[in-house]
């Protein structure tokens, strides 16, 4: 049997008033906390030293390195919202990437984040910081990071518009010893950029040296080089003629 209930209006006024007050404060608190959460971006904290992370890892340094990289990768997604990379302090971001690389030096993850994820900003200065990180870390493990340096060279050319920087990165790739195994196209970026910089003579000299050294065995690659050589020689003759005229 259902127990009889008093109508709400017959309840003591202070009780009703208190209930309404508490309900209102709950609604207001929820509303404002949600609003502030929506617009609050938590900036990156300072990373600890790599040696500290190595100590905390309890023998699982590589795993911790990957987990830190994933944590960094998720930084732009906060409270269900994605924040623009413009909000991220890139100097701090690079510091994080450096520390993670020291924790797990044999991982490609940080370099991949740098070249594919964090380079996707329109701010050229920020991209330069990222390219600097890629360049520094390439020196430590060229075999592991040659793809990232090749990407960095392309980014420097197309995104930053700095051909000299692109050429410097491409030269690093091209000057790697033969023991660093990478496809020939990665080494070819250098002469392509030289041609873009109108340094056709240097580009021609490099291609000729490559063809004469017999280092290029693949017939398709050889044909590509010969075509480029011919094209650059023609361009050089044309440019000399236009100067004379």
């Amino acid at each position: 049997m259902r127990r009889a209930e008093r109508p709400l209006l017959q309840l003591p006024v202070p009780l009703i008033g208190g209930f309404m007050l508490v309900l209102l404060s709950q609604l207001l608190f929820h509303h404002y906390s949600q609003v502030s959460r929506e617009f609050r971006y938590q900036p990156l904290s300072n990373p600890l030293q790599a040696s500290t992370y190595q100590g905390i890892a309890m023998g699982s340094e590589k795993l911790l390195g990957y987990l830190l990289a994933i944590r960094l990768q998720l930084h732009d997604s906060q409270a269900g919202q994605y924040f623009s990379y413009n909000r991220i302090d890139y100097a701090l971001l690079v510091e994080w990437l450096e520390q993670i690389t020291r924790v797990n030096p044999v991982s490609e993850y940080q370099m991949l984040l740098a070249s594919r994820v964090y380079s996707q900003t329109r701010d050229k200065n920020r991209v330069r910081l990222i390219l600097g990180f890629i360049e520094r870390n390439f020196d430590h493990a060229p075999q592991l990071h040659w793809r990232r340096l090749a990407e960095a060279s392309v980014i420097a050319k197309h995104k930053v518009g700095d051909l000299k920087l692109a050429l410097r990165l491409a030269e690093k790739l091209a000057l790697q010893p033969a023991s660093t195994v990478m496809p020939q196209w990665a080494r070819d970026i250098r002469f392509l950029l030289l041609a873009e910089l109108n340094e056709l003579e240097s580009a021609i000299a490099i291609i000729e040296a490559m063809l004469q050294s017999k280092a290029v065995i693949d017939p398709d690659e050889k044909r590509f080089l010969e075509e480029k050589l011919l094209k650059f020689q023609q361009e050089l003759i044309e440019s000399r003629q236009s100067i004379k005229n």
């Binding site: 309890m58 023998g59 987990l67």
Partner: protein, 259 residues
């Protein structure tokens, strides 16, 4: 004498085995797989290796804690229900109880790592799975022995678990603590107190297992010589396990029981 020890081992083992144990192990395996699938969604590259390594570490710590709780509870019940007094009225030596307990720990660890072998082999390479199961067996076995020593000496489960975990974590974080102490010596310009603390900690490290005693998680990310790694861990664990068993025997023989 051998038959008596085996009978005692079987009796103690039956006290630990239960349906609850099976359910716990299954729940852990399920949780592990859920956590693993979550991380595999997040990782851009090397997702598989990250997931296996994460699952392996999760199982390492959860099963380690689980084994520790089971062992300490089992011995604590022997104290509580006056089992030792009863056993000592029988023609049994104290060392036989310790040997039986060591066999129980070894068997329990084997039961716990079998699902690990399956889970890791399911996620990755079976050779790495076999390595991890063996290495984890050694690690949990050592933690179990530490728990046995702690519960025999301290007689209370919370104290024994805290002590065992403290020693385990001290061993695992020894690198970080040493680094902090070295930094403290440097910042205090080599003060006597800092150097003394550093020295004491260095001395304590001689009595805790070294990092080579624990399963190597890096095997999931690269070319690690599995045979060499497990051999180093085996020899290190063997020496430390013998040391712990010796301490257990000394402590247990010193105990007075009111018969």
């Amino acid at each position: 004498m051998f038959t008596q020890t085996i009978s005692l081992f079987r009796y103690l083992m039956l006290g630990i085995l239960s349906r609850r144990l099976l359910v716990w192990v299954l729940v852990l395996a399920l949780l592990t797989m859920l956590a693993g699938s979550f991380f595999s969604e997040l990782a851009i590259i090397n997702g598989k290796a990250i997931v296996v390594a994460l699952v392996a570490d999760f199982l390492r710590y959860s099963l380690g804690l689980f084994a520790l709780l089971l062992i300490t509870t089992s011995v604590a019940e022997d104290y509580e229900f006056k089992q030792f007094e009863r056993l000592l009225t029988m023609p049994l030596s104290r060392w036989q109880y310790i040997v039986a307990q060591v066999l129980v720990i070894a068997s329990l660890c084997l039961l716990l790592v079998l699902p690990v072998l399956l889970v890791i082999s399911f996620y990755g390479d079976w050779q790495v799975g076999l390595y991890w199961a063996s290495a984890l067996w050694l690690e949990i076995f050592l933690l179990g022995l530490l728990g046995l020593l702690a519960i025999l000496s301290l007689e209370k489960i919370p104290l024994a678990v805290c002590f065992s975990l403290a020693v385990y974590l001290l061993a695992k974080l020894s690198g970080l603590i040493s680094q902090m102490l070295a930094e403290s010596v440097r910042l205090s310009d080599g003060s006597l107190t800092s150097r003394f603390v550093d020295f004491i900690f260095g001395a304590i490290l001689y009595l805790v297992p070294g990092l080579e005693t624990f399963a190597e998680n890096d095997v999931f990310f690269g070319n690690v010589n599995l045979i060499e790694t497990i051999s180093v861990q085996f020899s290190s664990t063997l020496i430390y396990a013998l040391f712990l068993i010796a301490v257990c025997l000394v402590d247990f023989y010193r105990k007075e029981f009111n018969l």
